[in-house]
Amino acid sequence: MENTRKREIEKKPSLARKISKRLTKLRPVQAIRRWGISYSLWPVHFTTACCGTEFAATSCPRYDAERFGFLPFVGTRQCNVLFIEGTLTTKMAEAARVIYQQMPEPKFVICMGACAIDGGIFWNSYNIVRPHEILPVDVYSPGCPPRPEGVIKSVMMVREKIREKGTPYPED
């Protein structure tokens, strides 16, 4: 008796979920989803180090990343791109993890600068963390600091990645 009731409770949401899942697996829906996400990459406002100056320059007049729908936004809950702008220190790494967890799926991580790849000029510092140890990085953008063109290129690469491979659904 109890078992059947339990199954019912389990079944009820799963039916709605099934339908929604079936719907989202449809080709046109998927295409729309990819199109929407790829044109609406919002990086969260999280400056980890000095590359932030060049990151700011990326969305400013000469380079204007907003042309691509790339709009730096303030809250973690609304954004889908985490930019690691340069060195990640031990203290900041904790924050970076929390922010990554706060962001809704689907989300992407872009690492900017040599420091975010393997420490760069600070490779032997006692206080840095390599981002790939704590976060699933999608794209690296090399340079110290990368020029804004390089940052835009890395955004383009994420876009291509979304279009070619799609993005996982949160429940998968």
């Binding site: 220190t89 031990t90 203290k91 490779w123 032997n124 510092s125 006692y126 206080n127």
Partner: protein, 153 residues
């Protein structure tokens, strides 16, 4: 300049000398640091530029350097006083000069964080730059090794 300072400090300072244009070296004993600070402050040296230390493990001493100058008196501003004192590496205790120079607060906190010097009378506790969980000794000491370039790196 060196003359007037050594006159003011009297026998507090073991050495007052001009090392280069605009730079004066004052060596004092660690116990006299607050009194020295007070007298220099009376002369018009109103702020501290830097509080730092150099570790000499061979001599078992930590040389603490205060760089002091003036903002309000522009004649004194041309001079940077280098006040040097030494403390024991294993028991680096120094009285805080924040009572006389509030500008030393963050500098002293940094020195205690990175060099392990204990400043008595410093109100703020806890680490400043390093994470609270940082393990290992004060990083700016010479026995704190980091990786270096080379064959064995």
């Amino acid at each position: 300049m060196a003359g007037s300072i050594s006159e003011k400090l009297g026998d507090l300072a073991t050495q007052v000398s001009a090392v280069s244009p605009g730079r004066l070296l004052i060596t004092v004993d660690a116990s006299n640091i607050v009194e020295t600070a007070r007298r220099l402050h009376e002369m018009g040296f109103d702020h501290v530029k830097s509080v730092t230390g150099t570790d000499y493990p061979d001599e078992n001493r930590l040389e603490v350097v205060y760089h002091v100058s003036s903002f309000e008196n522009l004649d004194l501003a041309a001079f940077v006083l280098q006040i040097k004192t030494s403390v024991n590496r294993f028991d680096p205790n120094l009285p805080s000069v924040t009572g006389i120079w509030p500008s030393a607060e963050y500098l002293e906190r940094e020195a205690s964080d990175l060099l392990g010097i204990r400043f008595e009378g410093l109100s703020a506790k806890g680490r400043l730059l390093l994470p609270e969980t940082f393990a290992g000794g004060p990083p700016l000491r010479k026995d704190f090794k980091i990786r270096t370039e080379g064959i064995d790196a």
